[in-house]
């Protein structure tokens, strides 16, 4: 039995992402995590595609009230986490083309029409990420550990250090300043050189990769400086990528570098933003 029409009018369809709908559909282990907890996540099959959706209250998600909701940090955080959690549960089972936050349709017919109009572009996007997930890589350099490493390996740094410790008074101050400037420029050189090498080595063990914006210490939550941030498309069941990051961590440890991985993510950075209608 279908629910009363009046109630249905107030419900929209929240679209989390799209997966292939022509094979065996994945089991959803996403009970109780939808953006609107009153409803469950479901798969809606349209032709060769399956949409990961859940019903949402249009009062909560209406475009007229949405700006107000978006200004509410608690609301926003809860919904963003729900969006991600739903996709995260599905990601274990299937390859996903993730949709942007708050993609909401007023009716099932509209949702189906959109899926069918963009069928080819969605399929192409799905083909590209088939069997793949996104992994984020961040690298940080600790200035003190970097300097300590330079003191043993860099001839110029070693000489200046010796001069600074041998000098006295104002002379010592000047030598120390020179040393600081030298270290700063060596850090800069290292940042760009190491960043390039890390990216190129990671591209060698991934399908695709791209640099992301660096995060300031306040955002990264770390004291050391982020000098590298990238996203990579890697095989969901492969360990080669993680092993490569492990090797990088070994190679760069003496330079005072630490790596962090994030994910696995739905391939947010490897799907087109806009899809053309067929």
């Amino acid at each position: 039995m279908s629910p009363p029409a009046a109630r249905d009018d107030n419900l929209g369809w929240y679209l989390y992402g799209v997966l292939a709908g022509d094979g065996r559909l994945p089991k959803l282990h996403a009970s109780g995590v939808a953006v609107d907890r009153a409803h469950e996540v479901e798969l809606l099959v349209e032709g060769p595609l399956a949409a990961i959706v859940s019903r949402v209250s249009l009062q909560e998600f209406d475009e007229t009230t949405l700006p107000e909701r978006l200004a509410d940090a608690a609301w926003l955080e809860q919904k963003i986490r729900a969006h991600e959690q739903v996709l995260d549960r599905v990601l274990d089972e299937a390859s996903i083309v993730p949709c942007r936050f708050c993609t909401v349709y007023r009716s099932e017919a509209e949702l189906r029409r959109f899926l069918s109009e963009r069928k080819e572009a969605l399929q192409a996007a799905l083909d590209r990420v088939q069997g793949q997930v996104e992994v984020g890589v961040k690298a940080f350099v600790d200035r003190e550990r970097f300097s300590a490493g330079q003191a043993t390996r860099n001839e110029k740094v070693r000489k200046l250090q010796a001069k600074a410790s041998a000098a006295e008074g104002g002379r010592a101050y000047l030598e120390r300043r020179r040393l600081e400037r030298l270290i700063a420029s060596e850090v800069e050189r290292f940042r760009s050189q190491a960043g390039r090498e890390i990216h190129s080595r990671l591209q060698g063990v991934s399908v695709d990769g791209l640099p992301l914006a660096l995060q300031a210490a306040e955002v990264s939550g770390r004291d050391d400086e982020m000098f590298f941030h990238g996203a990579y498309l890697v095989g969901a069941r492969e360990s080669a990528f993680e092993a490569a990051v492990g090797t990088l961590a070994e190679d760069y440890r003496d330079a005072g570098v630490e790596f962090e991985l994030t994910g696995p993510w739905p391939p947010y950075n490897f799907v087109p933003a806009q899809l053309r209608a067929s």
Binding site: G12, G17, L66, G221, W265, Y268
Partner: protein
């Protein structure tokens, strides 16, 4: 003294990274019949609110500037 060697590779998902991906990336399926916050001004409103506790002044200025252009 530390046992961090084994744990240097960490999988960490911060809210900032979540926001960057969920709000700024992913497929946008818009049209006049769709409700969507893909419109950048709305996204930036939310992003500014969410990051205000952690973002640097510089980033906030960037976000404000991007929002003001719309």
């Amino acid at each position: 003294m530390s046992v961090r060697d084994e744990h240097e590779l960490k999988y960490q998902v911060t809210l900032v990274e979540l926001v960057d991906r969920v709000l700024n990336k992913g497929v946008v399926l818009t049209g006049d019949i769709t409700l969507s916050v893909a419109d950048v001004d709305l996204v930036y409103v939310g992003l500014r609110v969410l990051l205000s506790s952690v973002a640097t002044l510089e980033e906030q200025r960037e976000i404000s500037a991007a929002g003001a252009q719309l």
